[in-house]
């Protein structure tokens, strides 16, 4: 291919081969064909499965999604009651899965980074504590940890009637943590608008500060100033508008507290276990990432007179990120998939609600498991996609 065909050197007209002999066209054609055949193949399997199940007297199809579910769900981020449809139970379960996964990813990342850095600390005690933490928790099966937190926490908490009061308006008991719920009043929208404006403003400020530092070398306290604006501006608006929000306080009524917001013990236990377990892996990834940055970099930074914190933030971490991100992605994927262990302690995630109760009430296993698998696949692909994009933006810019 790379050789010039004989005779084409001397200014002879280049003969374009017919399309079917053009290797590029052929390659694309074959790929398209493969995809079509594969799609057709799986479609046939799917159809045939449904058809055969039908003839064995097993109901098939997605009609069940519109039927009333008839069962209650412990926790829902959107309005839900048992008169709503099976389709709705899918959304409720999905949102619960997403919530615990996202919170878990954020918390595990923070804890993992702290631990990873602590592992490398020059302080003997801190380094050893981090080491023991990582080595123990990483080697205990996650399911056991989830049970531990659930049963240990539940057993040590009092019943609703003997709730522990935190201040006068928050309560902790074995039904969960009850806190006052904010109820927004008219005018709160303005506060949100100011918040949005502040975020945009700070973004521009950060750009300006960076440009100035590049040009003049003068640093600007972007972080503190930005934080001040993002918190201060909406807070000021909030106060000026006369506090457009009231609180709905939880109160003991009958067996349980009514009102307020409740954080159920299932969520606390699952989130704690997922965070503490996944953080150990992230800690190791961070440690190896930092160690992969050659020591000369740190020495060079030191000799320029940069402080340790600044060295870490500006020199070491950005370079370590390139090593950290790919394995970090798979930890995020693991955490999301591990969140399905929720079923064991009754946290109403997608697997528990939809692949559990809904499946059993309707019996439509193939459809429901297919939908659930599609969701996990989609979540995984989205996480991978986002992380790849982030990785690209962090990667060495070759100039």
């Amino acid at each position: 291919m790379s050789k010039t065909p004989e005779g084409s050197g001397g200014g002879a007209p280049v003969v374009k081969p017919p399309a079917y002999r053009d290797p590029r066209v052929r390659a694309i054609a074959f790929q398209v064909l493969t995809v079509v055949v594969l799609v057709w193949f799986f479609w046939m399997i799917f159809q045939n499965t449904l058809h055969n199940m039908e003839s064995r007297g097993i109901t098939t199809g997605f009609g069940f999604l519109d039927r009333a579910a008839g069962f209650g769900i412990l926790m829902s981020l959107i309005p839900y009651d048992e008169t709503m449809t099976y389709g709705r139970t899918f959304i409720v379960g999905l949102l619960n899965t997403l919530m615990v996964s996202i919170l878990g990813i954020i918390l595990a990342t923070i804890l993992g980074f702290l631990l990873g850095i602590a592992r490398l600390s020059k302080n003997w005690l801190i380094a050893k504590i981090a080491l023991v933490y990582v080595e123990t928790l990483r080697n205990i099966p996650l399911l056991l940890q989830i049970f531990f937190w659930y049963i240990a926490v539940l057993r040590s908490l009092p019943s609703p009637k003997q709730s522990l009061g935190i201040g006068t308006s928050a309560f902790l008991n074995n039904r969960g943590l009850y806190i006052p719920a904010p109820v927004t009043e008219s005018g709160f929208g303005v506060v949100l608008l100011v918040l949005a404006a502040a975020i945009v403003g700070v973004w521009f400020m950060a750009r300006w500060a960076k440009a100035r530092q590049m040009a003049t070398g003068q640093p600007f306290p972007t972080f503190l100033a930005g934080l001040g604006i993002i918190i201060g501006a909406p807070l000021l608006t909030f106060l000026v508008l006369g506090v457009p929000m009231s609180l709905d306080y939880p109160a003991l009524k009958g067996f349980n507290f009514i009102g307020g917001t409740r954080i159920i013990p299932e969520l606390m236990a699952l989130l704690t276990a997922l965070t503490m377990y996944t953080a150990t892996f992230i800690a190791e990834i961070v440690r190896s990432g930092i160690q992969a940055v050659s020591h000369g970099q740190t020495e060079a930074a030191n000799s320029l007179g940069l402080k340790t914190g600044t060295t870490l933030r500006l020199i070491v971490i950005p370079q370590a990120m390139r090593v950290i991100i790919p394995p970090l992605t798979s930890q995020y994927l693991n955490l999301t998939k591990n969140s399905s262990l929720a079923t064991a302690i009754g946290y109403p995630d997608l697997v528990s609600v939809f692949m559990g109760t809904t499946l059993n009430q309707t019996g439509q296993a193939v459809e429901i498991v297919a939908m659930t698998m599609a969701v996990y696949l989609a979540i995984s692909l989205i996480i991978s996609g986002l992380m790849n994009w982030y990785n690209k933006s962090m990667a060495l810019k070759e100039r």
Binding site: I58, F71, I151, S352, Q361
Partner: protein, 340 residues
């Protein structure tokens, strides 16, 4: 969950490769060929199906399987028990992983008509009830508005509960667990004010508490729960065998045949007894079985009363009275069509 996916793959595979119509007689031949009956039971529910520390299973659902093995293979011990959670049970049967399901399963219209399964009778008439800690100071389920309820996933219990509370204008929040062990643990740890399940199972689960006398079962029964064995739809021969194995035990009780006197009963002049035990008629061969089929059941497993008393009745830790499960002639509704 892994088992669930495996079983599901089975269903899908069966769906992909099957020719469409369900093949008759395949189960009986498979069981005979294998020399062993594969029976789906619970993961551990004292009185119904529970393994002891040596792995030997006992319970009324277990005995139902053993009766079928006695009828088909002549040996009640040739059974392999597969423990299944409420969620896994129907998939395991549909996929052919088990030959029959005997796992305190309620006969409902949806299950009977849309899952490609058939219920082969009722071995225990039950109803849903509530269990609370005595310290809660509640005497009736009507006082339970606002309560938290521990419940097992994938059961009729979940649906009945929602209906009952809605009908009575009461609030509740349910905490849904996978297995009965987890459910009772949650209840014990104080996560819920009450646990709800079929009433017999409440008595059974109560025996798992460290102090069973601290809990009590409320008087309300909020549903009908006829529990019985289930087989795949489309294999009528197998359906008949399971159905009549159960009927044989009920009929044996009615005619006074027990495991102790079955040998003498073979000489009985009562034609009903003779027909059942294969001395005067040959019911067995009509079903594809040996003519000793019912003799083997009664000899090795006993009649319905023996099975009941040993597993859940007065001879067991559960001490449940016969109640609805007494013979029709004794004021109950346990009734078998004539064996002739």
């Amino acid at each position: 969950m892994n088992k669930m996916i495996a079983a599901l793959a089975g269903v899908a595979a069966a769906g992909i490769f099957a020719t469409g119509s369900a093949q008759a007689a395949e189960t009986l031949d498979a069981v005979k060929g294998r020399g062993e009956l594969v029976c789906g039971v619970s993961t551990g529910l004292p009185g119904f199906s529970v393994p002891d520390d040596k792995g030997a299973w006992t319970g009324i659902d277990v005995d139902t399987c053993r009766a079928v093995a006695a009828a088909v293979l002549g040996d009640a011990n040739k059974v392999k028990f597969v423990p299944l959670t409420a969620k896994e049970r129907f998939t395991a049967l549909q996929s052919g992983e088990i030959d029959m399901l005997s796992r305190n399963t309620t006969w409902t219209a949806t299950r009977d008509t849309s899952l490609g399964l058939n219920f082969a009778g009722v071995n225990y008439y039950d109803g849903q009830g509530f269990m609370v800690m005595k310290s809660l100071g509640v005497k009736s389920a009507k006082e339970l508005s606002g309560a938290s309820v521990c419940i097992q996933s994938g059961t009729t219990t979940e649906l009945n509960l929602a209906d009952y509370f809605r009908l009575n204008g009461m609030e509740y929040s349910s905490v849904v667990f996978d297995t009965s062990d987890q459910t009772i643990q949650g209840f014990e740890a104080g996560r819920c004010d009450m646990l709800t399940s079929d009433q017999s199972q409440l008595y059974s689960l109560r025996t798992k508490l460290p102090d069973p006398s601290a809990a009590m079962v409320l008087p309300e029964v909020i549903s009908k729960e006829p529990l019985g064995p289930v087989v795949r739809q489309g294999d009528d021969e197998w359906f008949n065998i399971v159905k009549w194995s159960l009927f044989a035990m009920v009929n044996a009780e009615e005619f006074g045949i027990t495991s102790a006197n079955v040998d003498e009963m073979k000489d009985s002049k009562d034609p009903n007894v003779g027909r059942l035990l294969g001395t005067q008629d040959e019911l067995g061969p009509q079903m594809g079985l040996d003519k000793e089929w019912a003799y083997n059941i009664v000899k090795q497993v006993g009649n319905y009363s023996e099975m009941f008393e040993r597993t859940v009745g007065m001879g067991s830790p559960l001490e449940i009275a016969r109640g609805l499960n007494a013979l029709w002639s004794n004021g109950g509704i346990m009734y078998a069509p004539p064996a002739r």
